[in-house]
């Protein structure tokens, strides 16, 4: 969930009393305030409602979420609407109304921006940062900030490091490092990215990269790029390039991601990879006990049944060499977000359950459940953070 801007608008005058662009400036704040007030008034008039009706305005690549206070209107421009964001917006306008209640009656300079900054950082910045978040220091960051604490903090930390690493480096408590990071982000001296986790799946966008001719390419980085095929979790990729230091490997990935040489696959694609890996593990075990032919029969009979509800399962194949193969059409649809992670999750879960039920008819409930349990264990090693996205307990027979 990306937040672009926050606006606090006075309801009766349409004046923007506070605004913050978290990224680049999208709208002129006064123009947007007038628009919001005009539209909300229009809807209230049309519906003859005493209670404000408007909730959100959709743009092509953003959503303007609106919440009403007693005498203010709060608006947040974000990439998508969520209840959590709405709650935050409600809370922030309540705080604003409480702190600057005088502004309801008179227009005064109450140093709103400096006095309200702390609340906005707390609500919209601080909770985006956790100890594993990656700090990426912007080039020429010193032009963005004059805050002495932030300047001291950023002066010696590496260009890319985690908040925890920065805290260790400075030998300061983690909580202070988190707050300093939040302030640096507020000042736009850094960008923060979610931590790269060992079971994330990355895809190389360019094997040659975008480096200058003078830049030396370490051979291990080139080897890493060839392993990031959008289907392999980083743990497995790290094993394949025989890296001894996973933390350093994840750091390399962060550098590559920053240079846009690799990118995280879409959530839907990640679901496809997770479930296809689980299917592969399950089918390998089934084939060892029941034989290849029976494993094939079970796979295709289960798929045929489930494909009536989830037609896209027809793009999941099981070849003669016992490899579960996801056709490029499905992978591409998932990558382009034409199929939602929820639908994929439902379909694959039912497919897995159907396979386990058919396996039970061959070997009995106990061995079928043990195979499922072993599959879960193996998936826990490959996807330590995400393997519980599969509702294993529902798959038991």
């Amino acid at each position: 969930m990306e937040i672009n801007s926050l606006y606090v608008i006075k309801r009766d005058s349409g004046l923007c009393m506070y605004h913050k662009d978290f990224q680049e400036e999208v709208f002129d704040p006064q123009l947007l305030s007038s628009f919001v007030i005009a539209m909300t008034t229009f809807f209230d008039e049309v519906t003859r409602s005493s209670k404000p009706q408007a909730r959100a305005f959709e743009g092509a690549d953003y959503t303007l979420i609106v919440e009403f206070g007693e005498w203010t209107v709060g608006a947040v421009s974000a990439d998508k609407e969520s209840q959590r964001l709405r709650e935050k917006l409600k809370a922030i306008i309540a705080k604003f109304e409480n702190q600057f209640s005088l502004l309801r009656w008179v227009d005064l300079d109450l140093a709103v921006y400096t006095r309200f900054e702390r609340h906005v950082i707390e609500a919209f910045i601080r909770d985006r940062i956790d100890p594993d978040s990656q700090i990426i220091v912007k080039p020429h960051w010193e032009f963005y900030t004059k805050n002495p604490d932030v300047v001291s903090f950023l002066r010696l930390v590496p260009q890319i490091c985690t908040v925890k690493d920065a805290a260790d480096f400075w030998e300061i408590p983690l909580e202070i490092a988190l707050n300093l990071t939040a302030e640096a982000l507020w000042e736009k001296a850094i960008t923060v990215k979610a931590a790269i986790r060992s079971d994330d799946i990355y895809e190389a966008t360019a094997l040659t990269g975008s480096r200058g001719s003078t830049e030396v390419v370490p051979p291990e980085v080139t080897r890493v790029l060839s392993q990031l095929d959008g289907e392999t979790p980083l743990t497995i990729a790290a094993e394949r390039v025989k890296t001894a230091d996973l933390k350093r490997f994840l750091g390399d990935i962060a550098v590559l991601a920053e240079k846009h040489e690799v990118e995280l696959v879409s959530p839907a694609q990640a679901v496809v990879v997770l479930f296809s890996s689980a299917l592969q593990e399950l089918m390998d075990r089934c084939a060892k006990i029941m034989g290849r032919r029976v494993a094939h029969q079970i796979f295709f009979d289960s798929r045929e049944k489930q494909a009536q509800v989830y037609p896209w399962l027809a793009f999941v194949d099981f070849d003669e060499s016992l490899d579960v193969e996801v056709k490029s059409s499905l992978m591409s649809a998932a990558g382009k977000r034409r199929i939602t992670p929820e639908i994929l999750n439902d379909g694959f879960r039912n497919f897995l359950h159907s396979i386990v039920r058919n396996t039970r008819s061959y070997m009995g409930a106990k061995p079928a459940n043990i195979i499922l349990e072993k599959t879960q264990e193996e998936m826990g090693k490959q996807f330590p953070r995400r393997y519980l996205d599969i509702e294993w307990e529902l798959l038991n027979v």
């Binding site: 060892k288 006990i289 034989g291 029976v294 009979d301 039920r357 008819s361 070997m363 106990k366």
Partner: protein, 259 residues
Amino acid sequence: MTMSKTRGVLPFLLGGILIAFIWVVLWFLGLEDSMLLMAIYLPPFAALVSGIIGVAYFGQEGFMREDRFHMMNLMLALALVVFAIAEIATGVIGSSETGYLAIILMQLPGLLLVALGVASYLRATTEVLNYRNDKTVASIIFIPIGVFTVAGAITAIAVPGALTVEYLVNIAVAAGIGSIVLALGKLLWIFRQGKLAAPLGFAFIAMLLYLARSVLWCWFGFIPLGPLFQVLVVESYILLGVSISMARGLQDGKTEIAA
């Protein structure tokens, strides 16, 4: 089980029941010549038919190391062919204790094939299901060896002159067959609730009858290669054939999809 799946199994089952029935009738009527004739011709025939049918089906794809179920059934089928050759040799050598020793030794490669097939399948199963592999394998090997060694030693002490080469070889072979029976019993227990229990169950009974032959000779004074002795062998070959046909039915059959 559908008709298509039972088509290969029924003739074996009916054949087995019919042979047992005829044998009982002949025994009651005291027609020993007819029984002897059957004892010579039926065992190699039963083993050869069962074996060839199994090899024809499971041999098509050769040895598939990664498919242990397929490999076990192919090994059983090949073992039956070896047993058939050994049984033909029985007719040539004739029925005597020395002849019986020669037959046992000729059957050893067949027993080795059975042991390898069953052991590899047990190993794959214990690996996949993560049962305590070492303990299982150790108990399967050492329990029969222990039981038959103790029983053989007691007999040798109690019955003077019982300790012959034939007797010792028979004890050793019985311990080996006992291991196979235990391994099949373990597999049968693991898959007792599923369709796999059927072929494994028939193979278990078949090997149990095979073991009974050694036990009957060692401790119950049955004449080796006699009519009653050979009926057990025929039935064990037929039951192994049933097991292989059932495994084939499982491989070919459609799975039933639970709703």
